[in-house]
């Protein structure tokens, strides 16, 4: 925050310096131009020219008087014209500033102009006797004053030049100071940027370290989870071997295969062992399936399955079980019973799971319905509907978590691992589909296997075959 304010302030100062530098350099250029202008030196030059031309005219006049001289009348008149020209220059803008400031000098210019004005009508008759001395008499008083004028003009010009140079020097100083300020500001900005860069790189290094730590923690957690799954799978497998022995031998005992038991109670005990062993085998199988699904080791085959047929098969299988005794299980005859691409064993297991759940958690006098419908966006929903105890939204959400049953009391009433819905959910997700749970407490549940468009064919099985 402080850094950004400092940066803004520095930028503003630098901008101001740059603007001032541009202004100063433009002024310097202007002044140099002005120095180069000829008008600045016109005063001294024009004055010296007037003096020189006055002397030249006087010399020509003197020579003109001498018989046989090379100077003719034209030459004299030409020199007079030149002096006229120089006198006019003294009335020019550049010189006028000087003569206005020096009344004495102004008087000299006026004197020269008056003399030339007086001589103007006489000059064409310069070859007449007596004219030259008359002209010289009129001109000679001007010599001294004009020479003094030239001297003063020269000093004035020199002062002007000195003044210009002083101003120029001042401007140069100002310019140098500005340039130094500019350099300091630039240096400050660079230092600031350097510090900011350092801070950023430190923060970057810290972030990088944190990301490394997080990645390590994640790897560790994943490894732990995998180890747990492996352990579960291995344990379930190991448990099945003695279970098979328990089931097999209790079956042998209860069926009195090798002769009567004698005591009828023993047969009842053996049957209890058999039923418990079978139930335990189911539980172990569930745990094994869940562990495999969790570890991503569950293998699926993909085949074309007629949903109507497989639902029928599942209903037939469950029909013989204790839970389905005296219960109505209705398969919707008008459902959209399309074919799906899926693993037949898994689909059957999922259906058995859902149907047995529906039967377990609903009253004896209510029916369980199984329907199939296709949504407008092409999904196929195979739904098991019951009118049982139902679940709240929170309960529905936790029902799909592993090792979970809504109510511990239920666990006692409806025995199970609490893995049923978790397994169904994981299996559907393995297929690329999903499990949809809609339920209301006291109203019952509608639990659907949802097959996305790419998992089913809009034809019914008869049409495919």
């Amino acid at each position: 925050m402080t850094h950004s304010w400092l940066k803004i302030a520095l930028t503003v100062i630098i901008a101001a310096f740059v603007a001032a530098a541009i202004y100063i350099s433009a002024t310097i250029v202007e002044r140099q131009k002005a120095l180069r202008e000829v008008s600045r030196y016109n005063v001294a030059w024009a004055a010296s020219q007037a003096v020189a031309e006055l002397y030249r005219l006087e010399l020509r006049l003197a020579a003109f008087q001498i018989p046989g001289s090379a100077v003719d009348k034209d030459e004299v008149l030409l020199r007079f014209d030149i002096l006229e020209n120089r006198a006019k220059l003294l009335e020019d803008g550049g010189v006028k500033i000087f003569t206005d400031a020096n009344p004495e000098a102004g008087g000299v210019v006026a004197d020269l102009a008056a003399a030339l004005h007086d001589l103007e009508p006489i000059m064409p008759r310069i070859d007449q006797p007596g004219t030259v001395p008359r002209v010289l008499r009129r001109l000679s008083p001007l010599e001294a004053s004009l020479a003094r004028f030239a001297g003063d003009a020269n000093s004035y010009g020199a002062a002007q030049v000195a003044d210009d140079q002083r101003q120029l020097l001042e401007l140069h100083w100002e310019f140098s100071a500005l340039a130094a300020g500019l350099a300091i500001c630039g240096f400050g900005l660079i230092v600031l940027l350097f510090i900011q860069n350092r801070l950023i790189s430190i923060a970057h290094a810290e972030l990088h370290g944190m990301a490394e730590d997080l990645r390590a923690a994640k790897d560790l957690a994943e490894a732990a989870s995998e180890a747990k799954s492996r352990f579960l799978a291995a344990m379930s497998h190991e448990l099945r071997t003695p279970l098979n022995a328990i089931i097999g031998f209790s079956e042998l005992i209860s069926s009195e295969r090798l002769g009567p038991l004698g005591q009828p109670k023993y047969q009842e005990f053996a049957l209890n062992v058999l039923v418990s062993g079978k139930h335990m085998a189911e539980l172990v199988n569930d745990i094994l399936t869940a562990a495999k699904l969790d570890a991503g080791q569950y293998e699926l085959s993909s085949e074309v399955i007629d949903t109507r047929q497989i639902v029928g098969a599942a209903v037939a299988m469950i029909g013989g079980a204790e839970v389905a005794k005296d219960r109505d299980i209705v398969i919707d005859p008008d459902g959209d019973w399309f074919c799906v691409f899926a693993d037949e064993r898994s689909i059957k297991q999922m259906l058995l799971n859902l149907i047995s759940n529906a039967l377990k958690f609903s009253a004896l006098d209510t029916a369980v319905r199984i329907t199939a419908s296709r949504t407008p966006d092409g999904e196929l929903w195979v739904t098991v509907v019951d009118h049982g105890i139902g679940m709240t939204a929170e309960q529905a959400a936790s029902a799909v978590q592993p090792f979970h049953q809504i109510d511990n009391r239920l666990a006692r009433r409806y025995e199970g691992t609490g893995l049923g819905l978790t397994i169904v959910k994981s299996m559907m997700e393995c297929h690329g589909g999903r499990l949809m749970v809609r339920s209301e407490p006291g109203q019952g549940s509608r639990i659907s296997l949802v097959f996305p468009p790419h998992l089913h064919r809009p034809e019914k099985f008869a049409e495919v075959a």
Binding site: V38, Q49, D81, N85
Partner: protein, 175 residues
């Protein structure tokens, strides 16, 4: 008609010689006649064509006979832009058969300035007789003003070229 052709030939030759190395020899023109009036310009030095004592002297009519051109330009000497009319320096140099590399323009007060010969071709330097349509008297920077067309090229607006311009010119020496 004949004069027009001559002008074109002379200009062509002048441009051609601009690119030649060494001294610039101007194409030889016709011999000069004698000035009928008082000469206003005397050209001396490295010239091939003369009419009076090894120099080429021109009165106003002779100069005008070389062909007048004009341009309007701003100058450091006048507040407003002025129109100069006169003989192109290049044309004058060819009329006197100049072979030098430098031209020295000398004023009535003996002030002189050097003009490189290539300037005469490159910038259309004028030996002006008239300013704003009037002949320039000695009292007003006459009789001749060697002047550059300052407005035609930004490069010309520099002290270097201002100092090569000379007024009250009466003599030209080719070196």
């Amino acid at each position: 008609m004949k004069l027009g052709f001559l002008c074109r030939a002379v200009t062509l030759a002048a441009w051609f010689t601009l690119f030649a190395a060494g001294p610039i020899p101007f194409a030889q023109a016709d011999a000069l006649v004698q000035p009928k009036e008082k000469p206003i310009l005397t050209v001396s030095g490295k010239i091939g064509i003369t009419n009076v004592d090894g120099t080429a002297q021109f009165d106003r009519a002779m100069l005008e006979g070389l062909g007048m051109v004009s341009f309007t330009t701003t100058t450091p000497w006048y507040k407003d832009p002025v129109k100069f009319e006169g003989v192109p320096l290049a044309k004058l140099m060819s009329a006197v058969g100049a072979t030098g590399q430098r031209i020295v323009a000398i004023a009535l007060n003996d002030y002189s300035a050097e003009v490189p010969m290539e300037d005469a071709l490159k910038y259309q330097v004028l030996v002006a007789l008239k300013r704003d349509g009037e002949y320039m008297p000695v009292r007003d920077k006459g009789p001749l003003f060697v002047v550059y067309p300052f407005d035609s090229d930004p490069e010309l607006k520099a002290q270097k070229f201002y100092s090569r311009s000379v007024w009250q010119v009466s003599r030209i020496e080719v070196k």
